[in-house]
Subunit: 458 residues, 2 copies
């Protein structure tokens, strides 16, 4: 007998959890569609030639590789050398890997279908990805990404729309306490330039990205270690220590970066995005221009975003930015795009901690009908059909067991109402409605019941 | 430069197709929930110890295996022998495989969580599965399954509910011309018994299952080949050639199988299911008792189902049945359950061929707002916010390009309305609404427009 288990770092999602996760997925999906993004799905497996080299050496190591099928050794030559080198062996017996993110498959899709696509192409994609990372709290080997990107336009309206879209999604979820930080990579380049180091801006971004985690002193240490000069670090600290409103920061940077052409363009971008948001909806209190925001991903070139819950310590719950050359690696250069990705696992944790899931989001069945002897059962089935015909999710307990057991079942499934149809009810042609949370009971006709349930649905 | 490609037998789903597929998924999901099924998700990868041996030798060969990560050769001993045998090698360097169906992971989940689950457990699961089959028309290496099962009860109410559920799902999809055939495995056993072969009923089921494809003569040939006697085959043909209404078939079988205890129980099951359906909704014209229906899967033990579209030649678009020992292989015997699985790819093909997708199911954006010079743009953004606030999916063309290009974009995306906001409209504080399918245009205020769009949504 096999004692069943699941692979390390992978998860079963119980119905209780899946119902809540589906509420999040549905809210995000509806938001994406409200903003004109169309759904795309790509296969779970990609050719390794597509995946390899796109995520750095570390990423390559984290790819899950799929064994070629059939008698895969038949086609392999010079086998002897293979046994000392896992990489060499896997290159001979594995051609496909599991998707590592949704960005590279998206770029591949765009390049392969460039002649059919209506640009600017607004697509969203909600699918799992796999990484052979060491599992730990909050880090899984299979997890969903929820991405929306628009590609084929440099318009900063798209950035402003991302801010609105984040607001809409979080509103749907009831998640009101969040901040959407944004910055421009160009401002960071400008800061590096005026502080005296325009050549090594990437290294500087990576260090600055850790500001939240390791603090200003930590960032300084990191920069010392990487041989940045005392002068540079001192200039830098002066700049990044500035605090103030979005407006005050912009004024400060206009002076500070006035000799940096790239920095100046970055400030213009930030101003334009805020202006667009203002045209859309007026002031938006959740958006914060934070010129210390770096975001590690190397392909960002313009505006970058990061969303955080303000009263749960959990890090970023979403992020994104503009890139100028996502498809270049597949032979289609100079296509600008901007995207945002929601962190579904962390959003779930935030909502759970803040108890934001409302009762209608934790159960799907609205009413359970009890099951007694044959005649009552027959009546119950007819009632069940009527309730469902009114658009209400309903079920009958399939066996004629003790009432207590049937009520327990409703409780465990979070079903709010139980309709008791026994011999007494049958005689009077009524039903007894039990409200599970209070234990209250009331006799009513089927018409009254349906009216009540339909009214609650709205 | 890599020329990008996707693996053989795998598919990208373009937005146009995904929107339609999502409509099918949503309809099936809502139906499952209406009938009290709760969503479950299991990981894409399972330990090979869980998967192997569950699908027969053929199935084992079709499992996609995932290479162990890291330097997987380190732990392998006696490597020399491995190079001549793909199976042996893969057993040493691969511990996980991709899900082959949703049934085995479901059984595994039930056994692992038996103490937390509220039985009878009604779960649905909509996830992709993978099979390393030779790709051909209509057969893919990655495809979705949409399963609903109730486990932990022998009540035939569940079978009756499956018939209703299939009806509800297909109604939502607009698929009216279908037949839901059903039978009991026990009746097939009874037929084998009275025809003179009760020992080899499994082999007989497999042959009979091909009746639709190869005809009565084909089945006879198949049985001759497998050494069934002339007598048996003659008896059999007499029985399975009978035609008539559900009622007539039952009367015929009652006589024919009166000496087979198992066959008699089978007939009682069929009658009970029809009785329950009658209690639910009265006569149901789509359900057909077909005692020649076999369905190949070996784990079915009671009622079996198969749904077919009646005016598209495509085979089964869904099927299922009752099993008595799904979880036995994982150490939890004697748990009865019944399930049904919708064939989403074939349902899509049927709906496409019959042109059942309606306009609201092929586009998600309702209205595109055009983009002209700066002042008009500012006004347009405000209008866009108002339209979205009314719950309408809307977008703005992000760049100020020629109107023709913007209209082309709307056409390609199947967006039904375009709102033209140019300098003229700005002056008069109105919008020009263009109906894409007719080309008609009308001037209206933003309030009139929103009223119109909201009314159409209902």
């Amino acid at each position: 007998m096999i004692k069943p288990s699941i692979p390390r770092g992978m998860r079963d999602f119980s119905p209780e959890v899946t119902v809540k996760r589906n509420f999040i997925f549905r809210s995000i999906r509806e938001t994406f569609e409200k903003f004109g993004f169309l759904p795309l799905e790509t296969p779970s497996m990609e050719n390794l030639s597509v995946l390899t080299g796109k995520y750095g050496d570390e990423g390559d190591k984290l790819l899950f590789k799929v064994l070629n099928s059939g008698d895969f050794l038949l086609k392999v030559e010079e086998k002897e050398q293979l046994l000392s080198d896992s990489n060499l062996l896997s290159s001979k017996i594995s051609e496909k890997g599991l998707r590592y993110d949704l960005t590279v498959p998206f770029a591949r899709y765009v390049v392969m279908n460039r002649n059919e696509i209506a640009f600017p192409f607004k697509r969203y994609q909600i699918q799992p990805v796999w990484r052979a990372d060491r599992p730990q709290k909050g880090r899984y080997r299979e997890f969903y990404q929820c991405d929306a990107d628009v590609i084929g336009t440099a318009s900063l309206i798209c950035e402003a729309e991302i801010a609105l879209m984040v607001h809409e999604a979080f509103s749907k979820l009831g998640l009101r306490d969040y901040v959407l930080k944004f910055n421009s990579r160009k401002i960071l380049e400008g800061i590096a330039e005026v502080a005296g180091e325009s050549e090594r801006s990437e290294t500087f971004f990576v260090a600055l990205d850790k500001l939240d985690k390791i603090g200003l002193d930590g960032v300084k240490q990191e920069l010392y270690k990487r041989d940045f000069s005392d002068d540079f670090i001192q200039n830098l600290v002066e700049i990044i220590s500035f605090t103030g409103s979005n407006k005050a920061k912009i004024e400060f940077l206009k002076k500070t970066l006035k000799n940096s052409p790239v920095g100046t363009i970055g400030i213009e971008e930030v101003e334009k995005v805020l202006l667009y948001i203002n045209s859309f909806v007026g002031e938006m209190s959740e958006i914060e221009f934070d010129f210390n925001l770096a975001r590690g991903l190397s392909y960002y070139t313009g505006i970058i975003f990061e969303a955080r819950a303000t009263n749960v310590k959990i890090g970023s719950i979403g992020g994104g930015g503009r890139y100028d050359n996502l498809t270049g690696v597949f032979g289609m250069p100079d296509v600008s795009g901007v995207g945002f990705s929601f962190g579904i696992d962390r959003i779930y944790d935030v909502m759970d901690e803040l108890q934001l899931f409302e009762s209608q989001e934790v159960s799907t069945t609205k009413i359970l009908i009890t099951n007694f002897e044959e005649n009552a059962e027959k009546f119950a089935l007819r009632m069940l059909s009527k309730i469902r015909a009114a658009g209400i999710n309903a079920e009958i307990y399939p066996d004629t067991v003790k009432l207590k057991k049937q009520l327990n079942y409703a409780n465990k499934k979070n079903i709010p109402y139980v309709l008791i149809i026994g011999p007494d009810e049958l005689k009077k042609a009524v039903c007894t409605l039990k409200i599970m949370v209070t234990g209250d009971q009331a006799e009513l006709s089927i018409e009254e019941l349906i009216k009540k349930l339909v009214a609650e649905k709205k």
